[in-house]
Symmetry: D2
Subunit: 269 residues, 4 copies
């Protein structure tokens, strides 16, 4: 096909290939989700419909970009980890992060109804993203731990804050003042002694966020077959399928990683 | 708020600030839109509902990111141009392109119904994006000219191809063979002599694509006011509002730019 | 030639091509030149041998990398400007800056004797460098103005400081205290009223630094030739040669640029 | 100190920090060293003076930039490896590579006389450089293996080629033709059967290149001291000093790395 004399402008594009043999993390953050949550009457401190929609959208991203080995989300953010050896989009950072941002955002609107039913979505929401590289398993696990620690810190705060407001009858300003300077132990104590709430019994989804990983599941399906010397009939067939599974557990300690040894690759390669 | 020991992982983020005093172009391209178009029965060679939805989504991006001075789209792609002096997201390339990709994609699903009515969207579509910098007006205009020349080349081809198939009764393979090696003039001639079609009278939307720019419009609204020594009453008030306007015209030549002298900034700054 | 299985490591190299149509500036700065100056007994506040050697080395760089259109130096730094359209090293930033740093440094040692005679160079000096891009003539001129303004500020300070010490008999600490908080006008006044020195009559080399540019010079050389119907004889031949010329003048105002209209390229390309 | 209005140009600098927790390799290559070698009558196929000068310059770089854990050179190239945790120059790629290029180049001229005696250096030589990051020990070792395999391939070729010319009486063109398409085994065979040369007995410096590493050495120096109740006298004092040591051995296999376990850092950090 004929090329135009304007073609030279292509040479202004720069190469942003991600360094090889590193985990590629794409993190998305909701834009102005404070306002978005208010306008859509999200429950406080956590709205399970909203969290479910975030996970559903993340699952849609993972099913589309198969080199993602784990994703982790909490609140209005989600992180996606591409395997070290991924050659998706030739490892071009811009392609990777825009495709993730795009697929997540279209899914968020597409699946809205599944989680919010007849409550209408008032306007199309926005997310922004970034790419970060991690050379070792330690660095990657520390990244995920950082996000889960953030989840914990925020959720503990929000749980006490909204309990003080919703059950304790404080204004938001009063609750804020009450919590100024308190430690985690102070917050646990307020919940326990004043409201008879054991924070550790609160929903794991809220306390730990959501980790999505691929798991192989054996599935038995029945298939119409004609075996030799027989009539055609339904035969049960077992096949292995990769499926995205959700976990709301601690991913900071070793247990989760020991139980799922296939997620991370060997460091010494 | 307490910081975790994992905080150090933040230092792995790299800075991708766009060079100052350059136009920042974000271009989005549909992912697997060939298949998407088929599955949603897009009309051939152009589906006005789909083109309308692309423009509607682009408008949504422009209204959200006000530093975009012009955007141009055709087929399943759209380019967004940020002004040279933009400091949106501190000019961080990753933030700019992911936000554009996200806002465009969520809008595409959100506004689907406005253009496709009861025809359902079967799955959430994906777009990928990239960032390119252009230092001068000449370079930027050549970029936009490149995209419009691409629109012209593709649309002329597709118009003849589908006319041969739809009106000429050729198979797609026959149409392909027929067009192999033909020049633009040959294609125009086939349309004219065999089908009595003057390509230049075809829809400008299809031939030229869509340029979206900001325009100031004077608007007269009536406002209830109380003027001195008068009863309160409705008073007509004129105010200037910036609005996104669509053009389907040539943007390669000088005329468009002379008629809209405010789009580009001075080169000599 | 046989390729080894280790060859894959090449793919870890990243592309650092400089954005097209921008001026590429490489600036070098002496490493620990304070100590270097002391150990080699540089005269205070300016050592003409050292400044001459810097310029000689810069000239060597320009003669080696012909796309440099202007270079500017002062104290222990030198900036080199590549033309917008340069394709030297395919515009790879790393190659450009390392070659400049290397050529400058080897020249500094190579030409040492020309400027310092029998005084020995005690150890090989080091310079570090960086690359900065400027899209417009205004930006580039402002960059060069920034460096010349820096030269002015430092040289005025150093001139007064060392005059107070060398002619005024102050200790360095006393001189420092004396100058704390003084404006340019105060410093000029100290020089004039106390030491009868008009700063503007000081050496232009010290006040303005050194700009090196290419100039065409007509040269008459005599060549042995045999013209038709004549004996072979010496004939004067004029030829034009590009030569690096040094200027110690203001480059902040317009005059220098008007007198050398060929240095900068047109902005509107 | 007063800031000028031109200061804004600093914001055009971009950040080129190297990804953390990766080895940083700076490789230098001689510019036009084929011509340089000819003009300075380098012996063929290897000039020990030139190789010695390269190593001496590399040593000078290592002594200046202490975070370099190993450097490896052959022919007119030298690679420098910074430790993963280095924060030298805040890991800014441009600073690291220009400083290495500068220090190496000034040292090359500075130490010329030590290796070439009265043979004059005709002009200042140039080197260019690049930066490459390697996330794991495997990747880094494969990089160094790649360079040593390159040394082997080139040196075997050059050894046979120049033997054919110098002892075999072939022209360079004849030698070239003779070697076209030959394998390593063929080349070894030519050397052995025709010239009675066992390639493996050739100089290790030529076959293996030069690896420079830091080693701790105990040194006994005598120091004048006054011990309690004694006259002042010379006392032998043992102290540990880090010194750059040269190796001309295989660095592809495991032995070298097992014998020097301190060079590489742990992968799992």
């Amino acid at each position: 096909m004929a090329k135009s004399k304007f073609e030279y402008v292509r040479s202004f594009e720069t190469d942003d290939t991600c360094l090889r043999n590193c985990y590629i993390v794409v993190r998305l953050d909701g834009r102005n989700f404070h306002k978005f949550a208010e306008q859509h009457q999200f429950a406080k401190p956590n709205d399970d419909r909203a969290l479910g929609l975030m996970s559903r959208s993340a699952r849609s991203v993972m099913e589309e970009l198969e080199d993602i080995i784990i994703s982790y989300g909490q609140s209005d953010e989600f992180s996606f980890v591409f395997k070290k050896t991924s050659t998706w989009f030739k490892r071009r950072a811009s392609k990777l992060m825009t495709h993730v941002a795009s697929q997540f955002s279209s899914s968020y609107v597409f699946y809205w109804k599944e989680f919010f039913g007849e409550q209408p979505l008032l306007y199309p929401p926005g997310f922004d993203g970034r790419v970060v590289l991690y050379p070792t398993n330690r660095n990657l696990r520390d990244y995920l731990s950082w996000r889960q620690a953030d989840c914990h810190i925020n959720n503990l705060y929000n749980t006490v804050f909204w309990t003080l407001v919703q059950k304790g009858g404080l204004t938001t300003t009063q609750a804020e003042d009450r919590l100024k300077g308190t430690l985690a132990s102070d917050k646990n104590e307020i919940l326990f002694s004043e409201f008879d709430i054991n924070y550790n019994n609160e929903s794991a989804l809220h306390r730990k966020g959501t980790a999505l990983i691929w798991e192989k599941r054996d599935e038995t399906v029945s298939k119409r077959m004609k075996l030799p010397n027989e009539e055609e009939r339904e035969v049960p067939v077992t096949r292995s399928r990769r499926k995205v599974e959700a976990y709301h557990c601690d991913i900071i300690g070793d247990q989760f990683w020991e139980e799922h040894p296939d997620i991370l690759e060997d460091d010494n390669c």
